[in-house]
Symmetry: none
Subunit: 222 residues, 4 copies
DNA sequence: TATGAATGAGGATTCATTCAT
DNA sequence: CATGAATGAATCCTCATTCAT
């Protein structure tokens, strides 16, 4: 996999992306659908070329290597994985005491489910390759931790201070948070990718209900 | 991948496994460690042979195809994935009102964490390949549903009737259950495979705490 | 071997053959000489590549499989196996009472001996593989019967009606005809491929003499 | 292929054949049927072993190499290919003016058709391998020429002297003789191996009729 | 004598990548 | 820029043969 720092590539990628030609677009589109369907390792560049209606050489003219094509597919998605409500906006809103954690969670879930829904295939690629490709995993991990984990931890801390969350180490809450949300995304969009969700809102409320209050029946609720 | 019913292969596998020769053991061991490290598709049979200190032909003499070697690695693990406390034992205990759901959860977690801990690498292989290899996924899914999902659903129903669990469809509880537990296993044993857990018991209690009661701080708990 | 109807392949083959590149020509030439010398099954693609001065991959880029290469070698020959004097020309000439059977036989022999002489190696391949390769035999048989056997039968019928040929079933005459002519071609161009024929015309006259009048000495000839 | 003189092997073979054990018999039987069905090159020793119900090693214990097994299958047949009515018997009969050439031909055909019928599979092997396997061909050719061709030539000479056969070089007659008879055997027992002959005697008479008198209709016969 | 596990050279085929046009 | 022919290393797999038991 690429030896450069990921962010450098990312930036380069961003700049280049303006110039994306028609053929490049076709290549990326074909690659996305093939990588998602059968995985990076099981997709040949000739299949991508055929799928894109392009000569095989053209792929290498634009992306140099197959690895690089994978990155070109994944990186824009990764960048957008940072919740749209980015840092400052985020802090601002919360400082105004507008949201309780439950509302935050609701907003986050809606936002991210929407985002992944719009990018199902790339999400599948990222999930599969992060598990399959150790090198890629190691490259992306710091980015995730820095940009996503840390922000969520910050949020959790804020709500803990407000007394909305239980008194166990933030780190533990955060891990359980990612386990549950991440697990949900993977099972819904990768493992059960074929099935559809009947009532999106009810689904989200169920998740929130269980994350917030667990599955134990409470006497006062009876 | 194999065209026979999984269970048939599984049984055949079990019966044949008695005759495992020394070289077969070495091959399987090398395969497990390589498949776990870089995935089935990225591991060549010649690497496995080298890792096992065996001629490449020997692999094919014993396993016929690379696919078959993968199955030979995975199937015994799959079989043992059914919680050791098998059906009857299970029902028996529960019919005696001995356990509350929390205790059941604790027992299950301890048991399965132990099991996976003893089979980390194979677990990694199974997780990776189930995501990566559609054919394998489709072959294993019915087995999982029949043997694991259904049993857990049965248990959830029992505890719901006893009034221990919230009144939402069992199906929903079950999905959240697997999302959380599965997500936990994957993040702990695959994604964060390198790091170790300091206090196993505390970890388990945290999981139980959050699954049962969520992350909301309750006034009466203050 | 190919699953499509032979004629389809044949036609496709013919159309594609225009684009034959330099390397393709070299590959086919090397394949012909090697297949003829030691048979399809005993010739490796690496030998063909070496013989053609080409990388092994190049063979597969152009022909996909070794089987396909064999077909690409054989089919153009098969197509041309239909006597050049094709159907209509054939019937026309004969309807004009120009030829007696003996003249027809002479023309046919000269024409086909010339053709096979120009394609000795491919003829050897076809003969060997038709005997060795059941699948190929079954694929080619209908073609031979439809295009060659039937035409000859038609001719035999015509000459029988003219009273030039003995009154035994046409089918029998035809079988003896192919046995003798075919046997001659095989023994001359395959079994005794090394030796040469001194007096081509005398050879042909001998064949005609024996096919027409047998080997018995007749009193009136003394 | 074996480097020893064929006759030596042949003799050794003959001597050994007395000691043929049960397993050897099974191996040879399985080999015959498999070689005939799909050819020597396409039959693996493991298939033969399986077909014979024997361990693969056993084949090599008895025959040393696969090539040698082929010879062990072929040689006894070759030896018996010399018309049963062997030399002296032969000459004797003929010196008594008992037979005309037609009768000789009839006797020969009946005898050889019967022999090949009893050894169809080995005949198929021999024909296929003589064409396919140059080394084997070169090894067997001298034997054929010495034992079969020469005897027939002698016979032809005798009948020519008696004025029964046409005045063209014996060599030519002999070649046409083998072309026709050989072509007949191959087409009947190899190419059309599946179909059966309705009236054996009529078939033989047709062959004789055509070999002796050709296919031309004669006026005096009308 | 018979076995069958083990071998490793060799076979067909795939594929990322290069480069002349 | 785009092409696609060419490459050759690497892949999975087959098979005749050997040898310890």
């Amino acid at each position: 996999m690429s030896k450069d720092n990921l962010l450098d590539v990312l930036i380069a990628q961003t700049n280049l992306s303006k110039k994306q030609t028609d053929k490049q677009q076709k290549i990326v589109t074909a690659a996305i659908s093939l990588f998602a369907e059968r995985g990076y390792a099981n997709t040949s560049t000739s299949e991508i070329a055929k799928g894109a209606g392009v000569a095989e050489g053209t792929i290498f003219r634009h992306y140099g290597t197959k690895d690089n094509l994978l990155l070109s597919v994944i990186l824009p998605f990764i960048k957008d994985s940072i919740p749209a409500m980015a840092e400052d906006v985020f802090n601002e809103i919360m400082s105004q005491n507008i949201l309780c954690f439950e509302d935050f969670l609701r907003a986050l879930l809606k936002n991210r489910i929407h985002f992944i829904n719009e990018n199902r295939e790339i999400f599948q690629i990222v999930v599969k390759e992060i598990l399959y490709n150790e090198e890629l995993r190691k490259e992306l991990q710091p980015y995730f931790i820095e940009n996503i984990v840390q922000r969520i931890t910050k949020v959790i801390n804020i709500y803990k201070e407000r007394g909305e969350l239980i008194d166990i180490p933030s780190n533990t809450i955060q891990r359980m948070f990612f386990t549950f949300i991440g697990g949900y995304f993977v099972s819904r969009f990768v493992l059960l990718a074929d099935s559809s969700v009947a009532d999106e809102d009810a689904e989200i409320e169920n998740i929130i209900r269980i994350m917030m209050d667990g599955i134990r029946k409470r006497s006062q609720e009876m």
